[in-house]
Amino acid sequence: MENWGYLVAAYSIIWVAIFIYIFTLHRRQRQLRREIDSLKEKLKGN
């Protein structure tokens, strides 16, 4: 089972990268959600 390390490295990099990407998208989505809510409040105020 030589070179096992390489396989693990490749595998990890793929999934870490994809999850970081999804997480970043999710975080921005949440920020947007907050902005929409605050804008709604402002509209109600006007």
């Binding site: 396989l7 793929i14 990268a17 402002k42």
Partner: protein, 230 residues
């Protein structure tokens, strides 16, 4: 609001399907498929590398189609879809390069070779980069969209010629990198499932990224409207 709810349901369905198929693919890749004789365990990277490469290319094809549609209609929705696809395409292309490098080292003893696959992928990576840079460095939105669309079209048309040039280069200097033996039935099955799983992943990411872009644009418009009112 109704439309939003319906969309969320089908998106959730897609995400669920992606997840399920990805799990199935993992099982096939790590448990089901037998270890290849010559390269050993490392060869399993192949089942990630190829689907990622296929989707990198698919993403660019989508960029190409959306670019044409944008230039025709000037509807920003095509520009948004194109940019989202380009972003994911860049991500996948980066992963193709990284997995290719990691695979090459134990298999052939070198980190990098100028073989057709890797070199063409590297050039595709740069074309993606050019696309994203142009849309980022434009002086205003519509110009960025136009310019990016032009790169999307030119870049995509360029890809077959790049492939041609590089393959020609390699046939004149054959490298020792040949995939020995064919693909057995189990290998083919695993590869196919993995390709489908990664394609679904690409589509899921595309939809997520695109809706984020759309919402961002909506908010910008809303803010503008409110500023004008005040």
């Amino acid at each position: 609001m109704q439309a939003l709810k319906q969309n969320t349901r089908s998106v959730n369905g897609l995400l669920g399907l992606t997840f399920a198929l990805m799990i199935a693919a993992q099982f096939l890749i790590f448990v089901y498929v037998p270890t290849e004789r010559t390269m050993g365990v490392v060869q399993r990277i192949f089942y990630f590398h190829v689907p990622l490469a296929w989707n990198a290319f698919l993403a660019f094809a989508i960029v190409f189609v959306c670019s044409i549609l944008y230039l025709r209609s000037r509807d920003m929705k095509w520009d948004r879809l194109a940019r989202s696809s380009a972003e994911i395409g860049l991500l996948f292309t980066t992963l193709v390069l990284i997995t290719g490098t990691i695979w090459d080292k134990p298999a052939w003893g070198v980190w990098w070779t100028w073989d057709p696959r890797l070199t063409a992928t590297l050039i595709l990576w740069f074309i993606y980069l050019a696309y994203l840079f142009v849309s980022a460095y434009a002086t205003e939105e519509s110009q960025g969209a136009r310019y990016a669309a032009v790169i999307g079209i030119i870049g995509f048309l360029d890809v077959p010629i790049v492939a041609l040039a590089i393959v020609l280069w390699q046939t004149q200097h054959p490298s020792p990198l040949i995939f020995e033996g064919g693909l057995t039935g189990s290998m083919l099955l695993t590869l196919m499932v993995s390709i489908v799983a990664f394609t679904l992943l690409y589509l899921s990411l595309l939809i997520l990224r695109n809706s984020l872009r759309r919402d961002t644009d909506e908010i910008k418009k809303l803010k503008q409207y409110m500023d004008e009112r005040n």
